[in-house]
């Protein structure tokens, strides 16, 4: 499975996600006073401004809150994927079960008919190929309907989220 392939890669950033019994979880922070969640982890609470916060694993499932498709290659830097092999990818916000909405790339491809607000989504870890040829592990959200985080049959020939060549296609 590609998630296990990705598990062997260095993460795109430290303290962004971790593995719990083979399941990926995002690492956020929780306020010890008002219980507000934030992602990524921060040193104070965005709601009550308190500094008593602790690391917290965020729920791995939720529903799609909004989505769009990145149709043109983002400028590089800051984009690490480069322009040469760019294919459009989807980005969305997923409302996780614990009351926080998190932005991430979506693995369902770039075809607009793949997405509807309210559809169940879950966290996956994918390889992300950088322009310098190295691969890192990055988080993304996958539609739940395929059961295993894979997009449905890719009949539109548009790639799943992620730069091409990163081995993230249906397998």
């Amino acid at each position: 499975m590609r998630t296990q392939d990705a598990a062997d890669l260095p993460p795109v950033a430290e303290k962004l996600f971790s593995w719990q019994d083979g399941t990926p979880r995002l690492i956020g922070s929780a306020c010890l006073v008002c219980a507000t969640l934030a992602f990524p982890q921060q040193q104070s609470c965005p709601r009550c401004c308190g500094e008593d916060v602790t690391a917290a694993l965020l729920p791995a499932e939720g529903i799609l809150w909004s989505w769009t498709v990145q149709r043109f290659p983002p400028k590089s830097p800051p984009y690490a994927g480069g322009e040469a092999h760019f294919r459009p990818f989807a980005v969305g916000y997923v409302a996780l079960d614990g009351g926080i909405v998190v932005q991430g790339r979506l693995t369902g491809g770039a075809a607009p008919d793949r997405y509807r607000i309210g559809m169940p989504m879950r966290l996956v870890i994918e390889p992300f190929l950088r322009n310098d040829g190295t691969a890192v592990a990055a988080y993304a959200f996958a539609p739940c309907h395929a059961g295993n985080g894979e997009p449905p049959d890719d009949d539109d020939h548009e790639g799943p989220a992620g730069a091409p060549g990163e081995g993230s296609g249906p397998s």
């Binding site: 795109v12 950033a13 962004l16 956020g28 507000t36 969640l37 934030a38 992602f39 990524p40 965005p46 709601r47 809150w65 909004s66 989505w67 769009t68 498709v69 990145q70 149709r71 043109f72 983002p74 400028k75 830097p77 800051p78 984009y79 690490a80 994927g81 990818f89 980005v91 969305g92 916000y93 409302a95 009351g99 926080i100 909405v101 998190v102 932005q103 991430g104 790339r105 607009p112 607000i117 992300f128 950088r130 890192v136 990055a138």
Partner: protein, 381 residues
């Protein structure tokens, strides 16, 4: 009623690509035009406030305008730079320190999208690495959700852009002055679903300057005075959906636009339903529709009906972005907010030739930008 600031003179350098002219030179051109409009000379100016995001240090203008020794404050607040400059000028005059000043905004950006660095916005490099550091994505995500919640259609998004180009055609200082049909806008290249190429403004170049004064002095100047009845600025609250946000709470909070507009209405004693002409931030066409509601100028969801009824056209009950807005003018970040004020002053003076809102007496301006800031102003004759 005169408020605490008056506008005695206005000047503009036309917006566009302006390849051959530096941002600073455009600013000098606009400043000289504003001084001439007010019938004053540079040594009469007691203080200046200038804003530019990426076209140089505004206070270096003194080397071209004259080394008079005046205090010159530089302002950088993203798309709200013009509003923040106006707020600074108002504070200076209301405090009694000075009576007449210059407010200037200019910018010049390269082609294509902006390329902000995550570290400048308090974010980890990973956010840019993965391709999420794009304002275009944010606008697509925000309007997609808004359409879902409030029943706005793609056709209304296209109508906003079509109106912008129609108004731009009538504005000699606008950049994109060729009208486009709704179908051509809908059929142009998709940039960030559901927003197409012609629904977006583009980075451009331009400059605007205003001579401002204490309201008690306004009658001394040749042009009919326009009064700034209120000016306000707000940053984001917990729960507002803002650009460059890796996360947010499920429960929405008030937006900075909502709060800045509310503060301006309260200060001016003039509010929704009382404006003859309105300018709101239209980074893309969905933003114009959402900002109208966030500023309380219509109900959420009523935009569909407003667009179908052509209510926001010049000649309609609430003309919006009468100079073509950002969509037709492009967005030189430091100049955009003052462009709205410039257009409003023209309209209130009755000088908006070719696009005049008949008998306009009151106007409202609104800017919004990253990382979640808004500035608003209420103007009247």
């Amino acid at each position: 009623m005169t408020g605490s600031l008056a506008i005695a003179g206005i000047g503009i350098h036309p917006f566009g690509r302006n390849e051959e002219v530096s941002g600073l030179q455009m600013a000098v051109t606009a400043a000289r035009a504003a001084l001439a409009d007010a019938g004053v000379s540079w040594p009469d100016i007691q203080f200046a406030v200038g804003g530019s995001d990426s076209a140089g240090k505004p206070d270096t203008m003194v080397s071209r305008l004259g080394l008079t020794g005046l205090p010159f404050t530089n302002v950088i607040n993203g798309c709200a730079t013009g509003g923040a400059s106006l707020l600074t000028a108002r504070a200076t005059i209301a405090s009694g320190v000075h009576e007449i000043g210059l407010v200037v905004g200019f910018d010049k950006h390269p082609r294509g999208a902006f390329d902000p660095r995550p570290e400048d916005w308090g974010l980890g490099a990973w956010y840019g690495d993965l391709g999420m550091m794009l304002t275009t994505q944010y606008f697509g995500l925000k309007i997609r959700r808004y359409m879902h919640e409030h029943g706005i259609t793609e056709a209304s998004l296209a109508r906003v852009a079509a109106k912008a180009f129609r108004n731009g055609e009538r504005n000699p200082a606008a950049w994109r002055r060729k009208p486009l049909a709704v179908d051509d806008i809908l059929g142009s290249a998709m940039v960030a679903d559901p927003l197409t190429q012609y629904m977006f403004c583009s980075p451009s170049a331009g400059a605007v300057a205003l001579v401002v004064c204490h309201p008690g002095l306004a009658a001394r100047f040749p042009a009919p005075p326009v009064y700034v009845r209120a000016v306000s600025m707000r940053s984001r609250r917990f729960g507002s959906f803002e650009v460059f946000s890796p996360s947010m709470p499920v429960t929405r909070g008030p937006s900075p636009s909502q709060e800045a507009a509310g503060a301006a209405y309260a200060e001016a004693g003039i509010g929704p339903g009382e404006f003859d002409v309105v300018q709101v931030q239209d980074t893309e066409s969905g933003a114009e529709l959402m900002h109208l509601a966030e500023c309380g100028l219509c109900e959420h969801g009523a935009q569909e009906e407003l667009m179908a009824a052509s209510a926001t056209e010049i000649g309609g009950p609430m003309p919006v972005n009468t100079d073509g807005g950002c969509i037709a003018s492009g967005e030189p970040i430091g100049a955009s907010g003052l462009r709205q004020v410039y257009e409003t002053v023209l309209q209130l003076r009755g000088q908006a030739t070719g696009r005049q809102v008949e008998g306009a007496r009151t106007g409202f301006t609104h800017v919004y930008g990253a990382p979640g800031i808004s500035a608003c102003a209420v103007l009247s004759r």
